[in-house]
Symmetry: none
DNA sequence: CATGAATGAGATTTCATTCAT
DNA sequence: AATGAATGAAATCTCATTCAT
């Protein structure tokens, strides 16, 4: 009798098409026409499933943040101690393993710039950053404590590490020359390890 | 008795207005009308002094890169050894001292995203990054050598440090909550110092 | 054992939903989606029961005209003479009694403007107006005759009175400040009575 | 050197074109394209001089209200007493003399319906109505007083008369059959005169 | 140098209508 | 009867760029 809803798939399809298009053209030049064409849909249908283009962007921000969380969960599954969990986190974010996606990274960079001007994007971006910072601080605090070190600098170290990650995404997207692919994760891990080793005891 | 040409002053005025406007609205929404209004000029005059809007953006990229160089020079003026020069660099980039400019930082973030899609912006952005990397590698190599350490990792460390800086700009522009203002420079310095201390000898 | 067709009920439901939506959003902005939502139906179903949106509008015009007729019939039921019938008419149109409906009035105003451009709406609107005029002229003629007055001006007086009613709907919908609620009917009645009293004898 | 501004003429030209187009097609179907074509301009230019289509409509409301005021002033110029001023007012609004404009009347009807749904139009419409009501009440009070009558009903009478005018515009635009052209003004004048004559003394 | 009106291409968005289920 | 996804035409609005003055 009634038609079977397929909105969820369609929405995911559209969000994915925005990501791909944005990675190539930026947000403004990722026109509804282009996104629709890439998704194999008509422009009108995009506005049937999303109120506005900005709404698709918000859905993408949430999708990327969620995917990052899942990626860490997958990487951390077999971790046995705090040090391994921290390593898993760094690998999940900076490593080249399964699921690394240059398009997603480029889209994330573009989102970071859109967050400068779109309040709603900024809020979603901040929420993702805050969640990451909290997780990272937790991991760092655990590692510091496991080595009998003070955790006073855990927050600042988390922020610095997160900044390094965001910056790595930026440089990887635009100026990949400087650092050989795959060096980011080990270097970040080493910086953290040496920092922790040199911390004063608790 | 010719009238004194004021082109250079006008161009600088326009570039500055683009920077201010971009920091608030992003690049695409920084319309010629808005830029002109902010500069106290008329739309037509902008195209008299610049061939296109993209040209103003390129001029801005170069202006910001040049200003960063100058800021380092000023900070390094009184440095007495390699360690102090490295500290001066970090302070010039991440410190809160004179000349720190939230607008310039936000504009730089937006430029980073435009570099994803505009080849000419990407080239100018890469050139700035490459110049920075070379300078930073030089400073790190000198510091490593001064401590009798191997300089093999200088390039990778330079890249990581640069990434941290770019990421700090991003987070400062959009999600300033995580790290207290002014903590970025000391934390970066400490990460570098401990890394160097732990490096094996040359 | 056939299922009972519910078309008539559905049609009435849809027409009512158009009226409510129009009173708030006007005709053009009363989209099929909005009307359907207000009726608790789906967009597709509206086109199952009506060929087009314009058709729903025509049905509404007729429904409102018919309701006005019924309202007069109900008010005039107990009238004993021509003067009471005329008073019943004025009360039915301008009074605040049972069945007065701000939404219907606002929708009628919107219909009046649509009649400016849609020939079919104009025809239906005119038909309603002509019917009203004829009835009103009849009532006025009877009252004039009952007072031994000439009925020569009955038509013009009917037109003036009808104009006052349409204008009252307009002002009540948009600028209700000027006249206190409930004053329209007595004032109209008084204007008519004094006009009739001052008419020359037949 | 600089270009001579012509915005005022252009704006007036555009407002006039909206009025003509609206009188024929209503507001929604008076597209920017149609208005531009009627004005002999390009669509882009309309948005250069007006922020939005709604802004053109607001300018039209004000222009029509202002024109009505001027028309009364012109008609009342030679009036010698209160009765003549009142007559001048009725003629200015309902008469067929110089400056009567079927297009303006139809546009005003459409504006009245737009006022139902657009708050800014409603505000401008109300302001015009309030101004008219105040003027009319003043004229009626003066006439009543001049005849030694109570002015207690001046406000209600003014409202009724204004409603009659608005309704006459409506019927003239859509259902001109009922009342012969030119009968509205005398009938309105007569209704008022007989009402005043029958009022109790002050 | 400077002005600001003008253009035109292209973007987002709306929406009545259709139709497979 | 009913659903709701899908379409495509058309609307408003934006904006870099041009150009007469």
């Amino acid at each position: 009798m009634s038609r079977k809803p397929n909105s969820e798939q369609r929405r995911a399809q559209i969000v994915q098409a925005l990501m791909d298009t944005m990675a190539e053209h930026g947000y403004e030049k990722a026109t509804i026409q282009l996104i629709a064409r890439r998704a194999g849909l008509t422009p009108g249908l995009l506005h049937y499933h999303f109120h506005s283009k900005a709404d698709i962007l918000l859905a993408l921000v949430k999708a990327l943040a969620g995917a990052a969380q899942q990626r860490y969960q997958a990487f951390a599954q077999d971790a046995q101690d705090d040090g391994q969990r921290l390593g898993a986190y760094i690998d999940a974010r900076l490593g080249l393993g399964e699921g690394a996606d240059a398009g997603a990274v480029a889209a994330w960079v573009v989102i970071g710039a859109e967050a400068v001007r779109q309040p709603e994007v900024r809020a979603a971006y901040r929420h993702a950053i805050d969640t990451e910072t909290a997780l990272l601080r937790e991991l760092l605090s655990a590692s510091l404590a496991a080595h009998g070190k003070s955790t006073a600098n855990a927050q600042a170290l988390a922020a610095a590490l997160l900044a390094m990650m965001e910056g790595t995404f930026q440089l990887a997207s635009v100026a990949p020359a400087g650092m050989p692919a795959g060096f980011a994760a080990p270097m970040a891990a080493q910086l953290v390890r040496r920092f922790i080793d040199a911390e004063p005891p608790a």
